[in-house]
């Protein structure tokens, strides 16, 4: 046996800890119908209730059309041309980093990613068991002692079907929207988190540990539950540039916070954005929604979106419990020909519910950046409050920023504040910084980081540092 094959086996052994489903070799032919949906469920050995749920989602989907209300433009997607089941294959192993695309390597260097991680991320065979896998294993034990469940979605279906059944679709119903319905019918895998009553999760949970395992799949499904008085902080994504042969990604994330429960969900998204001329790149059509199901519950979304050719996502919060709190902090960057239509919905149902929306859009090149947000305050939500702030920063003359705030206030005691600004990265600011000795590129970064500061401070420390570097890389050459 070659040493390389041996290493692969070692890696695969670690997969038994549940981050990846068993590796099977087959792939379904392209196309989607009820049989395909049933076959996916059968492949995964799912219980009948879940098969039924997928089938219902499929039938909802067939009655829907792709949304056309957003500001993004792309050629129509042929949904019958996609293969909806492909067993995760390990990526082709390379012998050394020299075989990796030099551009990708340069980005790794700029982001300061350690060599071992660079190898793992780009699929180079590593000599030892990849560090983070063993780290993840250690963490799992510690989490298990506290009764915290953190595993793949498939594992959760097998091991904790009662929890999955109780909460799956409780926030994003299978018929919610076109892409959510598609996801519900065909989702491949994803993450599951349950934090029991009164437990504060002692570490940030991160999918980062799983990134080396296999491709995340086109149709990912995440479900996070914070039981009464529980707290969890969850990190999604990775600052390393992620390439994928699948152009369409339609994930669903559901969060449920029970009374006094808190969920903090942070995302750094850096999918391949396409080249400088707008060719290629991921379409990222995601449905993310949280529900503050109990009183005094709190859900915070923080996102830094720099990747993808098209981003279409609106992490939202349903404020059902009285005194519950929803937050949305977002930085979205579009450069070259990227398009982003992102924002949030805050649905106030409970009394004295509060929501905060801070959105920072940065457009450069031909990038188009739209903020689309809805604040809905229902009659029962007396004393509800919302504060929204949407700022746009333009770099150059060819990009665009658009803001679409929708307000529906049906409670006379509600207070709603909205602030919006659009500014161009000022020649005056740049000259001021350069006159003090700071090079143009660094001056741009300084200004951009200042602009995003209120969002970055919501990110966990290391994530914030990475996000800053990522922004610098994404906007390289945008001015000057």
């Amino acid at each position: 046996m070659t040493p390389q094959a041996n290493d692969l086996e070692v890696l695969q052994q670690d997969y038994k800890y549940g981050f990846v489903t068993d590796i099977v070799s087959d792939t379904f032919p392209p196309g989607l119908n009820e049989e395909v949906v049933r076959a996916i469920s059968a492949k995964k050995g799912e219980p009948p209730w879940l098969t039924q749920w997928r089938v219902r989602a499929y039938h909802s989907w067939t009655k829907m059309a792709p949304p056309t209300w957003s500001s993004v433009h792309h050629p129509p997607i042929d949904f019958q041309a996609i293969s909806y089941y492909s067993a995760p294959k390990p990526k082709k192993k390379l012998d050394s980093l020299d075989q990796v695309d030099p551009e990708v390597r340069a980005t790794f260097e700029k982001l300061g990613i350690p060599l071992e991680e660079q190898k793992a991320l780009s699929g180079v065979a590593v000599d030892a068991v990849f560090d983070s896998v063993s780290v993840a294993t250690t963490y799992k034990k510690k989490l298990g002692d506290l009764g915290i469940i953190f595993c793949s979605f498939s594992e959760a279906v097998r091991e904790h079907p009662e929890l999955v059944r109780a909460y799956l679709g409780s926030v994003v119903p299978h018929s919610d929207n076109f892409y959510a319905a598609l996801n519900s019918a065909v989702f491949s895998d994803g993450s599951f988190v349950y934090v029991p009553k009164g437990v504060r999760c002692p570490m940030e949970l991160s999918t980062y540990f799983r990134i080396n395992a296999s491709n995340t799949g086109q149709f990912e499904r995440t479900l996070i539950i914070a039981d009464e008085g529980a707290y969890v902080s969850y990190l999604e994504g990775c600052t390393a540039p992620m390439r994928d042969e699948n152009q369409l990604h339609a994930a669903v994330v559901e969060l449920v916070a029970l009374a006094n429960g808190q969920i903090k969900y942070s995302t750094v998204q850096n999918w391949y954005p396409g080249d400088k001329n707008g060719k290629g790149g991921i379409f990222n059509f995601v449905t993310k929604r949280g529900k503050c199901a109990g009183d005094h519950a709190k859900i915070s979304w923080t996102q830094v979106e720099t990747g993808s050719a098209i981003t279409w996502k609106y992490p939202s919060v349903i404020l059902q419990g009285d005194h519950s709190v929803g937050e949305f902090y977002s930085v979205a960057v579009t450069n070259n020909y990227q398009q982003a239509d992102t924002g949030t919905k805050m649905i106030h149902l409970g009394r004295n519910t509060r929501s905060t929306i801070i959105s920072k859009g940065i457009s450069a090149g031909h990038g188009q950046n739209s903020y689309r947000g809805l604040v809905r305050i229902l009659p029962r939500a007396t004393g509800a409050r919302n504060f929204s702030q949407c700022d746009s920063l333009l770099m150059g003359d060819l990009c665009g920023a658009h803001t679409f705030p929708y307000l529906e206030v049906k409670s006379p005691t509600a207070q709603v504040e909205h602030e919006a600004t659009t500014s161009k990265i000022g020649e005056d600011q740049l000259f001021y910084l350069r006159q003090r000795g700071i090079a143009t590129e660094d001056a741009v970064n300084l200004i951009v980081n200042g602009f995003c500061k209120t969002v970055f401070k919501e990110l966990p420390m290391e994530f914030a540092v990475e996000a800053q570097k990522l922004l610098a890389v994404s906007l390289e050459g945008a001015v000057g």
Partner: protein, 261 residues
């Protein structure tokens, strides 16, 4: 005698196609303070911005040498790293960026360019704390976003503070006295005076003689219509104060009409 710190020769510059500087000549030696006075629109700020390398202004002819180097060939940041400092007439706000962070980035960029070790956060703070006191600003200034929410006087003092930290070789002060009350003016002036040294030159641009009571110049120049039309010692500023710019105009009128005839 050695190379002058700054030598401006027949400098012509325009903005948006309009010629503002029409042949400026100026020589500043290390250790000297030169005041440039002149009415509104005479080209004072243009001269300051051209020296700092602002790209909206195009130099159409003439030369500027700085320590024997061609200053005009350098980018604004290269000039800064070479020791040229401009105290802005209208200091710019940078939201979300603290003064400390900004100034540390600037100082380290300059140190790096000079091949010096960059300062870490502690070394930097030690160094700046004494300088904040120099302009009588509170230390909390360091944690506030650059110039945001500052009063006019605070902004000007912040410029002098930055100058004190960056220790330039040539400092150009563009109407640093405008909008200051008499107390703030004294603070700014004493800050500048404490930085006077045999190695450092100053170009102090001002409307009013008042500032020059506190920062006593070696030379005073009067800039009108884009040219230095009269130079003298500090007494020239006093005379100007007494007699106004029309006196200079009248004095020049016969000569310039002869010249154009």
């Amino acid at each position: 005698m050695s190379t002058p710190l700054l030598k401006v020769t027949d400098l012509h510059a325009s903005v948006g196609g309009k010629e503002i500087l029409r042949g400026v000549n100026l020589t500043v030696r290390a250790g000297e303070v030169h005041a440039i006075m002149g009415p509104n629109g005479s080209g004072k700020s243009t001269l300051a911005n051209v020296l700092a390398g602002r790209e909206d202004f195009s130099v159409t002819s003439g030369s500027v040498s700085y320590n024997g180097r061609d200053l005009l060939a350098l980018s604004p940041e290269q000039r800064a790293c070479a020791g040229v400092f401009l105290a802005f007439q209208y200091p710019v706000e940078i939201p979300g960026v603290t003064t400390a962070y900004f100034l540390k980035a600037a100082l380290n960029a300059q140190r790096k360019a000079r091949g010096e070790e960059e300062l870490d956060a502690m070394e930097f703070l030690d160094r700046v704390k004494a300088k904040v006191a120099l302009v009588q600003l509170p230390e909390t200034l360091l944690n506030r976003p650059v110039n945001q929410g500052f009063s006019g006087g605070e902004k000007k003092r912040n410029e002098v503070f930055q100058m004190a930290v960056l220790e330039p070789t040539l400092a150009v002060l563009d109407e640093t006295d405008s909008g200051l009350d008499i107390d703030a003016l004294r603070v700014v002036a004493s800050g500048v005076n404490s930085l006077r040294s045999p190695q450092r030159g100053f170009v102090v641009i001002t409307h009013y003689q008042r500032l020059l009571e506190y920062i006593v110049p070696d030379k005073v120049h009067i800039l009108m219509n884009g040219q230095i039309v009269k130079s003298g010692g500090k007494e020239l500023a006093l005379e100007l104060e007494r007699r106004g710019y029309t006196w200079v105009e009248e004095e020049l009128a016969p000569r310039s009409s002869k010249a154009s005839a």
